[in-house]
Every structure is written in C-alpha cells, then in structure tokens.
Amino acid sequence: MTPLLRAIVKKGGPFIGLILVIAIFSAPSETRGYFLTYHNFKIILTQSVIVTIGSLGMTLIIVSGAIDLSVGSVVALTGVSSALLLQHGWGAAATTLAAVALGGLIGLVNGTAVAGLRMPSFIITLGMLGIARGTAKWLADNQTVSYDTSPINQWMTTANPSGRALPAGVWVAIVLALATSLFLKKTVFGRHTFALGSNEAAARLCGVPTVRLQIMVFALAGCFFGLSGLFQLSRLRLGDPTVAVGLELDIIAAVIIGGASLSGGAGTVLGSVIGALIMAVLRNGSQQMGWPNYFQEIIIGVVIIAAVFLDRFRRGGKA
C-alpha cells in the first residue's frame, strides 16, 4: 500500500464506522422517516457534546501514555459546584470560568501525583474517582442542588423555536475540537505529548520536561472535563452529585474507537470525536428502534471490541 492510501484507510477507519452505523439505522421502517432528518441530527450532536468535550481531554491524556478514570466524578463535582455558585447568584460567565478552573485544578492534582510521585495514573485517578464523587455528595448534602434559572440552561436545548440553529454546546464542542486538533499536531506542546506517550525515557533524553509536561496535560484535560460538567448541568438544569457514573468509560471508549493506543503515542482528535459520534448515533438509533437499555449497552460493548480489533487488523497485527 502506498503511504497515502494507508493514511486514508488509517484516518478513515472510524469515519467508515460512523457512516455504517448511520446507514444501519436509516434503513428499518421504524426509523426511516425520522432518523435522517436535520432535527434528529441536531439531537444526536447535542447528546454527544458532553462525551465529545471529555474525549478531547482524554485524547491528550491517552496520547501522553496515561489514563484518567475520575472524569465521571469530576463532571458531577463541577456540576454540583456550579449549581451552588448559581444558587449564590453568580453569573453564567463567572460560573463557566469557575467550572473550567475547578476541573483544571483537579487535573493539576492528578498530574502532580502521577508525575511527581511516579505513581500509575490508573491508581491515582481511581482514587480521585472516589474523592471527587464523595466531595460532590458532601457539597450537595446528598441531594440535588437547584437554582433559579440561568442562561446556562439554554446551552444544550434542542427545543428552540427557530428550529434550525444548533445549541451553543455543539458550537463550543466543534470549536474546541478544531483547536485541540491543531494544538496536538502543530505545537511543541502537542508533539512533546506524543513523544512522552511514545517513549518517556527517550523524551527525557531529548530534553523534554517530562514531569512538567505530564502535569500540564492532566491540568489541561481537567479543564475540558470541567466544561463537560458544566454542560451536564446545562442539560439537567440542576446539580446532581450522582450523575455521570461511568462516563469516563464512554469517553475512553470514544477515544479508543477513534484509533488511539492505550499504550500512548498514538491518537487523533478527529478520531475521538467520530468515536463519540458513533456512540451517540448508536444510543439515539437504539432508542428509536425501541430497543431496551440493556440491549444498547451490549451493542456498545461489541462495537468497542470490534473497533480495536479492526484497528489492529489494519495495522497488520500490531496493537
């Protein structure tokens, strides 16, 4: 195969998967009339925002050779915290900044523990999964946190009267995806992140500040997770400390379906976004087919395994 053809197959792999799932759900009589409408795509895009923004941060972390299991809890914690701030009369912009900052702060803690204490990220973020979830419940006093209405509530709505316009959350996800993609490909920080994940010892030998870089990757990813938390709040319109349990697994699945390697050094933003869309289409399509929840879970499980298997097959047997 020529390098060009290989690049197309490699980059196109997840995209072909997306086309395939869309085609599958367009055919049956139950969904035919509605599935391919603009309105439904708007719903799918909106439903995928939280996982997509999370997958941007997770792509950074996985490319750097680490993992973050605390995302679901961080989303709950930033959601609850933001709801409390709104309750205390903060504005939408200030609350958004606070949510991003809180996510970044938790990422900073994760990264410092991973790089500074030389602990596996799996362990550190597993610990943070408990800490953040517990803190969320503590802050919320084990209840949901409600607040007077806020512009934030409009950022994820698909029921706007004009019908055409995409909600703000979708635009934010698109802009951030483009920015992150450029950032990973074109900046020194981005290339250093690939080097770190590909071979930490070699990166260090080349003068890459590996400890500082790993901390910054976690902190930056944390900002994305904080933003995911804010959009989760926007969707629910109240702070729920028990929301988003297991969200990190959906996000990791999106990144892996998108072609990233769990051993680090490989992955693309485009792939991860398509991975997130594949999952959103599967959920949406299954609902319209009237399939029960458990059936959706089984399908998504199969898709994850199939995606990684196909990816491996494409690369000629190497994981």
């Binding site: 390098p3 900046t187 020194v188 690939f194 071979n199 070699a202 990166a203 080349c206």
Partner: protein, 496 residues
C-alpha cells in the same frame, strides 16, 4: 553418520513483489558451527524464520538427517530438533530460572508441577552448558543479560536439539561474557549439536566457526571453510565491494578542553571519576559491561544525577546537569538502548530527528511543518537513511537506519560535544562504516566525541585517546598509539 545434518536446496521466498530469497542452499554438518553471513536485508532473517518454522518457503527442499523437514510452526520445528535462540531475550522476567527453562514443557502429574523432577531437568540442561551451581529459584530479571542468555540456551537444550540457531547472541554481551558463550558453543559442538551462527562481529567467525555461507540480496554469494578466509574476504562478499579500511583516517587538530568532568560519583557503579575532553578529540571509553562507562556518560549528560562532582562544559560549571540544560549547552547524547530510550518508535523520522529543538522551527510554540520536514529531509539524504518519507514511523526502519536517525538528532541540534554510547551495536557492516565516517568527519570539523564501545577494534580504529574503566573507575587513559587489544582487555578485567 553419512551426509549432512541439515541440507537446504533451492529455497525461494517472496513477499508480494519483494524477493527475499532466491534459490538459496545451505549445508550444515553434525557438530559443525556454521556462520551465516550477510548485511541487514540480505535475507538472513527470512532464512532463519523458514528454518525455525515461523515461515514457509515458496520453493525448495529441506532435509534434516536425510529426512524431509517441513516444520508446520516453531513448536513443530523444536520437536523435530531445530531450536532457535533469538537476539532479544524472550524470558518471562518474573518467573524463576527453573520455570523459564521448563516453560511449555513442565514436568507434572495431573497438572501439578513435579518440583523434584523439574529441578533435575533444569539443572541437567544448565550442567550441559557448564553452569553447575545456578540459583534455580531466583527470578530471571535479577540476572545479567549474559546469564539470561545462558538460561535461554538451557531452555532450548531441554528438547535435545540437533540444530541450534543463534541469531546475534553476542550483540549485547561484553568481551568476557562472549568468551563464556564461546566455551558453551564449544561444548555443544563437542556433543554433536550443529550450530548456525549469525553475528555482525566478523572476527567471531574465525574464532568459533568451521564453515560459512554468505548471503547478499537474497542469494548465495559464497560458501567455504573458515580456515583461510579473511575478514576482508567476507566483507567483500557481503558488500560486493572492497572495504579498504572501515575506519576513516582524517587529519584533525586537537585543541583546548571543552568538557571537564571532575570527581563524578554515583553509587553503586560509578566511583570518583574525572576526565577531560578536548576540541576535535575522539575519546574512547573501554571496559566490561557494568564497569561504569554508561553511568559516567549518563551522569555527565544529567540523565542520572551524580551523588557528587561537577561538569564544566566550555568552561561553564554545572553541578546539577539535566538533559534539557545539557542540550542547551551544546551536548548531545546517543543512548545504547535504541528501542527503550533512543527513539520514539511509533513517531515519525521527522519528529525523532527534531525533538530536541522543536520550538526553533516556528514561533510562539507553533511548529512550521515545512521547515521541520526540510530539516529531516536534509539528514535522511546526507546520512543515506533508507525511508519512504520523513513522515514514516521510525520503527519501520532497519536497525542501521534507526541508528542513523538517532544520530541525526545530534547533528541537527547541532551538538558540539557528542556522547555516543555503543553507537554501532546491532547494526550491519555497511551502516557501521557510514557511522564511523560521520564520527570522523565531525571530529575533523572541530566537534568532540566521547565514544563508549565494547568493540575494541572500533575504539582502536577511531579514537585519539582511550580510557579503560574497571569497577567504576577510570584506571588508565592513554593516546591510542600506546594501546593494543590485549592491553585494553588486561585493564578492563583488572589484571594490571
């Protein structure tokens, strides 16, 4: 016994449009050590894979002791008596010596390991190799590479092989460990085992091999008895050209000190060590593995922090060097561990060559891909790196080309002082000659080089000054003219 132990005739193999082997023949007698010689890409690996059952030939006949030999896979080949020792250690590091030796052929009753019988078998295999008192229950990760290789050979011997294939067994061994391996080979030979021996170290063939077969571009280009065949003769067969002298003799002027290490110490392997490197000088470090050579250059570069001592680069003192600072001061480091530390294998040739100074190809943290690619392309051309394009993952290249990429990083930076740790380990003669030429050219242009090598002819051929390390200390530093191989070895083993 009449007839050869192993006979291959007309073996051909193609991968798609690429012809790997064309009508290759090979004959190995019982109790013979047979050298299989060729540059990287000559078809040796394919032939070994066919022999060990990992691949099937497209055409040709294979006979083992006169019977047709067509293994269906590596385990079938082992059972028929053809075992292979791979270049890289394939032991399970957490398991004990005994468990590793018996892995896959455990002695058991109803699924329960028979401990006594297992120990006897493992001990028996090690005794054949002359290792009578090996701690059987220790985890293999706690042994040196040389010892691990012995364990690996013992595992191969368990099934009483008739043919043993050794693929570059000495590539990561010191001279002393190599000698021990040669004793093992002599023992096996005495017991009638046929050995196919592959190595990049040509001088080894004369020591242990009886006959040789040379491959070039997938075809036989010569076979004969080792007696009377010179290294130069083999090299000219392998490369198809006369290699007058592998080592460049370029006129160079040695100037002022550029690097002064004083009292560098790092427990447990590096004692207080000082040395001075001058402008335009190639300074060789000889010694056994574990003598502290690698520890010394790593401490100088700041890859490992020294317990005490300081380094002065171009007169600037630095008592806490880090790799980042060192690159900034004009130092460059080439790791002995190409795969683990030297390169990011799944990243591109371009990224690997330019990683130390990515910021300089653009502004404000953004990289200008055009300039980065142009830099990479310049070095792939200058060093004749065989790659499809600068975007190709470096892991897809051959060992020699990978090493050129690693070296290009130092040239692109550009480093004025190059610390090279085993720069020619495990690469073919052609690439070696190119790397020697580059090193010579650099020194002639006023750069300074510290060259760590376990290959004495290389040190004697290239260096202006050679220091020998023994047990963490630099025991002797002399101009090259005052050294000879036996003399270097004498200091390396500490018999001064």
């Amino acid at each position: 016994m009449s007839g050869p132990r192993l006979r291959l005739g007309g073996i051909s193999k193609a991968f798609g449009a690429t012809r790997a082997l064309l009508s290759v023949s090979l004959q190995v007698n019982a109790g013979e050590v047979h050298a299989l010689v060729g540059e990287n890409g000559a078809g040796k690996s394919t032939l070994l894979k066919i022999l060990s059952g990992a691949q099937e030939p497209d055409q040709g006949v294979m006979e083992l002791d006169g019977e047709a030999y067509r293994p269906s896979g590596p385990s079938d080949a082992r059972e028929r008596g053809v075992a292979m020792i791979y270049q890289e250690v394939t032991l399970a590091p957490h398991l004990s010596v005994r468990e590793n030796i018996l892995l896959g052929s455990e002695s058991s009753r109803l699924g329960w390991i028979d401990a006594k019988r297992s120990r006897e078998r493992a001990q028996g295999a090690l005794a054949v190799l002359g290792y009578d008192h090996f701690p059987l229950e220790r985890a293999t990760s706690s042994f040196t590479i040389a010892e691990q290789q012995v364990i690996e050979i013992a595992r191969a011997l368990l099934l009483k092989p008739r043919v043993l294939i050794m693929d570059e067994p000495t590539s990561s061994l010191t001279k002393a460990d190599t000698e021990k391996l040669f004793e093992v080979i002599a023992r096996l030979k005495g017991q009638g085992v046929s050995i196919i021996y592959v190595s990049h170290f040509l001088e080894e063939f004369g020591r242990i091999c009886d006959r040789y077969t040379v491959l070039k571009d997938g075809e036989n280009v010569g076979t004969g008895t080792m007696q009377g065949a010179t290294e130069d003769h083999l090299v000219s067969l392998m490369t198809g050209r006369q290699v007058e002298d592998l080592y460049p003799r370029v006129e160079r002027r040695i100037g002022e000190p550029v690097l002064e290490a004083s009292g560098l110490e790092r427990a447990p392997r590096l004692g207080r060590t000082s040395f001075t490197l001058r402008n335009g000088e190639i300074f060789g470090l000889a010694g056994l593995i574990g003598a502290g050579r690698t520890d010394l250059v790593r401490a100088v570069f700041g890859l490992d922090r020294a317990d005490s001592g300081e380094v002065a680069v171009f007169g600037r003192r630095e008592d806490r060097p880090t790799p980042r600072k060192s690159w900034g001061q004009g130092l460059g480091f080439l790791s002995e561990n190409r795969k683990e530390e030297g390169l990011m294998l799944n990243l591109s040739v371009r990224d690997n060559m330019t990683l130390t100074k990515l910021g300089s190809y653009g502004r404000m943290g953004w990289i200008d891909h055009g300039r980065q690619t142009a830099a990479a392309r310049r070095w792939t051309q200058e060093l004749a790196v065989k790659c499809a394009n600068p975007g190709q993952p470096v892991g897809e290249l051959s060992g020699g080309n990978q090493q050129k990429v690693a070296l290009a990083r130092l040239l692109e930076h550009p480093a004025r002082i190059l610390l090279l740790d085993e720069p020619t380990r495990g690469i073919d003669v052609g690439s070696k000659a190119q790397i020697y030429e580059i090193i010579g050219r650099l020194a002639a242009a006023g750069k300074s080089v510290v060259l760590v090598s376990s290959y004495l002819p290389e040190l004697l051929g290239l260096c202006d000054t050679i220091g020998v390390m023994h047990r963490g200390e630099l025991v002797a530093v002399r101009p090259r003219g005052e050294w000879s191989e036996p003399e270097l070895l004498r200091f390396a083993v500490g018999k001064d």
